[in-house]
Symmetry: C2
Subunit: 190 residues, 2 copies
């Protein structure tokens, strides 16, 4: 009752350990998080979403996350939230923007929902790189929530850059695959 | 590295155990979460924010939360997030809206930031009760993030009711007290 424990599945730990560890190009980073999203549905550990925190200048992977809402019984456990929480634990700082000489980037297989948009603001990351768009997630029944229309500009106004549509098609393919397999589309409003 | 552990401080557990456990009136519930916010600054365990999940019909306390950003080194650990995660753990369900015959309510000492607004949407709670307003938090330097202007209507459109200004002055007093004591105003953008 007095503690919340959020575990990354063992396969994520193995996948991270077996990876290059450093992903110089933005497409390399996106390919990595899309593969997380794909494996998350293969392993049936959650929804079709993957994310990672990378050091921007060299592409060093700091932390990975996948959607664990069902398996952890916690609606907070989106991929981006997991990646941010693990990165802050690894860095020993609740503000990744406070690290001298390092800029951290969130790479996510689908654009953040409103909760994760807020989490980005408080995390200290200075860049967000997105694969699939909100409308790709909505097309298969997911809900991104009451996000401000101008969320990209809102982040820019806070010194957080956004890059959209990196390998969007490949990211979207995983969403479609999840839908076609009959994966749970978690949506408390319906 | 492979798990995130978020602990409620021992004083919160004691405070919950020593409480009535059931809070029939909305003001009773608010008084409880304001007292959490006040004790959180007394105990120096985090920012001036408290929250709780209650069963709406009878006021039974399901879970309590306080802001633990600093003490847990995790920017996700807002009071509302902690309360939601603990309630879902207690209920054994990531969707509090799926519980037959029970409606759950989030009571929070200050209106939710954009991250917690999103977390509300995915939690399955059907009501949000707020003490201090966004502008009260902003006045002492906190940032509520890029929330949609019409967030109350946006939640209503999702079947989530919002009650504002319950004991607002008392809730705001704790914000002011925190500011006057020189409490950390965490804001990664500045």
């Amino acid at each position: 009752m007095s503690e919340i424990i959020l575990n990354l599945p063992v396969w994520v730990q193995d996948f991270v350990e077996d990876s290059a560890g450093t992903f110089p190009a933005i497409e390399d980073r996106m390919r990595f998080v899309i593969e997380l999203s794909r494996q998350n549905i293969e392993h049936k550990t959650g929804g079709p979403f993957g994310a990672g925190i990378f050091e921007q200048k060299n592409g060093r992977l700091v932390a990975a996350g996948v959607n664990l809402v069902e398996s952890s019984n916690c609606s907070i456990a989106h991929a981006e939230i997991m990646a941010i929480a693990f990165a802050q634990k690894t860095l020993g700082n609740y503000n990744m923007g406070a690290e001298k000489g390092a800029v951290f980037e969130l790479v996510t297989s689908t654009e953040p929902c409103v909760m994760c948009l807020g989490a980005v603001c408080w995390s200290g990351v200075k860049a967000v790189v997105c694969g699939a768009r909100d409308e790709d997630a909505r097309r298969i029944g997911f809900d991104e929530g009451p996000k401000p229309q101008n969320w990209v500009q809102a982040l820019a106004g806070r010194g957080i850059s956004v890059v959209q549509d990196v390998l969007r098609e490949q990211a979207d393919e995983v969403l479609t695959e999840y839908y076609e397999r009959g994966g749970l589309i978690y949506n408390p409003v319906r």
